[in-house]
């Protein structure tokens, strides 16, 4: 080494270094591997969608809209998902009525009012932990509280019990996304409001909320998609998976009566030994479910891109 180095002058060494091949092969391979990781995840998505849609198409061709409008039946060639859709829409309504106002209110408190006290820090940590509680545990809460304890009010294993459970399940998501949206509103906007003599609530109502509204809306729509797709808590509070009839008169009766939901039908039918359910009907029901959840997500992503604002 020493003798070879002695033969080369400094300028020769520099020249060699500069002429060296620049392509970093190991680096290129590394980059391709990383891209591959991303593409494999996307490939799973494509395979999943393709597999399900290709199995669902024959069912839809054979039966047309009958799959969507039909009711629960023990015969796979007559069963449809209409009761599942209406059940899921009831759940969505509960989320909108309960989780939306509570969640936005809590977010307003945490972002706009809360001083850095021990209680407020605890509330903050608590909300984040609630967001990580498995959905099946919320189902147990619903079972113990709304089905058993308040059963005379909710009607036991009813759409009301499930709806309240679902609203509580998505509440932390609504709080966290709304709080993020409120945090993104710059302080100068608030100060402008205070500068003209507005009180705190007036500033929030007239300045902060309108600016945070798109972000809050995005979070809410995402939580709706979660409420449509979530299954485990519904099984806990006792969604009906077989045949049932609703002969409810008014709205209260309807809320206190038995129910099923779209993902519960998917779960139940995929466990049936009859291939008519497992191979023909389930893919069709999944397509209906995916149309609902994915369109909710698409709306949320569009909203975010449309109103994404840099201050």
């Amino acid at each position: 080494m020493a003798t070879r180095a002695a033969e080369l002058t400094t300028s020769e060494i520099v020249q060699r270094a500069l002429r060296r091949k620049r392509i970093d092969l190991a680096g290129q391979i590394f980059q391709v591997l990383l891209l591959l990781a991303l593409l494999i995840s996307l490939l799973f998505l494509v395979v999943l969608l393709f597999d399900i849609v290709s199995k669902a198409i024959p069912t839809f061709q054979e039966r047309g809209a009958d799959v969507v409008t039909g009711t629960v039946s023990s015969l796979p060639e007559r069963a449809g998902v209409s009761q599942g859709i209406s059940g899921s829409l009831f759940l969505v309504a509960f989320v909108v009525v309960i989780a939306f106002p509570l969640g936005v209110g809590a977010a307003i408190y945490l972002e706009e009012y809360a001083a850095d006290t021990r209680l407020n820090r605890f509330i903050n940590t608590n909300v984040r932990n609630l967001a990580g509680v498995p959905s099946v545990v919320y189902g147990l809460l619903g079972l113990a509280l709304f089905v058993k304890l308040f059963g005379s009010f909710t009607g036991g294993r009813s759409v009301m019990s499930a709806g309240i459970t679902m609203a509580i399940l998505v509440l932390p998501i609504v709080i966290i996304t709304s709080a993020e949206a409120l945090r993104a509103v710059p302080n100068s906007i608030r100060e402008a409001g205070y500068g003209v003599g507005a009180t705190k609530w007036e500033v929030i109502r007239s300045h902060v909320l309108p600016n945070a509204a798109p972000g809050i809306l995005t979070g809410t729509v995402l939580s709706l998609s979660r409420a449509i797709g979530e299954t485990a808590p519904l099984l806990m509070v006792g969604a009906v998976s077989g045949f049932f009839a609703v002969n409810a008169e008014g709205l209260i009766d309807r809320l206190q009566s038995q129910f099923t939901a779209l993902p519960v039908l998917v779960y139940n039918w995929s466990r049936q030994p009859d291939p008519g359910f497992r191979q023909d009907l389930v893919p069709a029901a999944i397509v209906v479910l995916l149309v609902l959840t994915l369109s909710a997500n698409a709306i949320a992503i569009l909203l975010r891109n449309r109103y994404d604002r840099k201050w």
Binding site: S41, L141, S270, N297
Partner: protein, 313 residues
């Protein structure tokens, strides 16, 4: 400027109307009530789980809780928690084997290599994957992964298996791992990368020996969070892992097995028929309580790691 008649400004003028103050207080109270409700929910979860779980523990012979020979057959009074915890851990480990390389690789690519336009196009697709309901992935595990992937991996493939469920759970948590990890890679300051390039380092050495170590707390946090989500995942294992009634202790990932969450769903579905056996129904809450504390511990741990990244940069 017209001359306004000079009038004494009293203290009352500066105080604002009592009506306005009352309204302020009312709204503040309302919002505080909404925020406080989250604590009520936590308390309700803990109390409802504890109440029924205690009933279970009082009624059941405590030695039955660890009885590896007996397995988990709640309807026959055999409650070996080791069996279902092993099933849960196996499924979650398989899920991590899938999700860790895919999620971290995707996160590094999105944050370090992808051009802004590519990133804007690819990221929403990951979000779509994240929004697929778990019941759909459960069906996918049973109808596609099991015949196509598990067939190739196992010598004696069965249609229900812990392996297929684990892979599907892995696909489910990949977007979560990717998104938390990407956030922490992106929070590494540009100056660190530029200093590395200034020393003559190449892109790959910068990524592997500067960006990755700087964000390692966030990476750990993303993996813990993914694991916690995998433990609590219910529908995929309920559909694809098999063993609805119960299961003997097993570590065979090619065969069916029972996890904590799947055990809970099968108990809940049949809860009207199982009243006869002492403690069967309440065991549902006991398993729920164990699950609750396992995920809570993991979530708190992951939060500590996330905070470490935030404090550093």
């Amino acid at each position: 400027m017209s001359q306004a008649s000079p009038r004494e400004v009293s203290l009352q003028d500066l105080q604002g109307s009592p009506k306005r103050i009352r309204r302020e207080r009312a709204f503040r109270g309302l919002f505080f009530g909404a925020a406080f409700f989250s604590i009520v929910i936590s308390a309700a979860i803990v109390f409802s789980l504890f109440g029924e779980a205690l009933t279970f523990l009082r009624n059941v012979d405590l030695s039955a809780l660890i009885d590896v020979e007996g397995g988990w057959f709640p309807r026959r009074g055999r409650f070996d928690v080791i069996t279902i915890i092993t099933g849960t851990v196996l499924v979650s480990l398989i899920a991590m084997v899938v999700a860790a390389p895919l999620g971290l690789g995707a996160a590094l690519y999105l944050s370090e290599y992808a051009r802004p336009r590519v990133r804007r196009a690819l990221k929403p697709i990951l979000e779509v994957l994240a929004s697929i309901p778990s019941v759909v992935l459960g069906y996918f595990a049973l109808a596609w992964l099991s015949p196509n992937i598990m067939q190739a991996l196992c010598s004696q493939p069965t249609s229900f298996s812990l392996g297929a469920a684990g892979i599907a759970v892995g696909i489910l948590i990949t977007p979560l791992v990717a998104s938390v990890a990407e956030d922490s890679f992106r929070s590494v300051p540009m100056a660190l990368r530029e200093a590395s390039y200034g020393m003559g380092a190449r892109k790959r050495s910068t990524v592997t020996s500067i960006v990755f170590p700087a964000a390692v707390s966030g990476v750990v946090a993303s993996l813990i969070l993914g694991f916690s989500r995998a433990i609590g995942e219910t529908m995929v294992v309920a559909i694809a892992a098999g063993a609805t009634g119960g299961s003997l202790f097993t570590v065979d990932t090619c065969g069916p097995g029972q996890t904590m969450t799947a055990a809970m769903t099968s108990l809940a579905i049949g809860s009207d028929q199982v009243r006869g056996q002492e403690g069967t129904f309440e065991s549902l809450f006991f398993v729920g309580l164990v699950l609750f504390f396992m995920t809570l511990a993991l979530n708190l741990l992951s939060e500590r790691f996330v905070r470490r990244v935030r404090l550093r940069y």
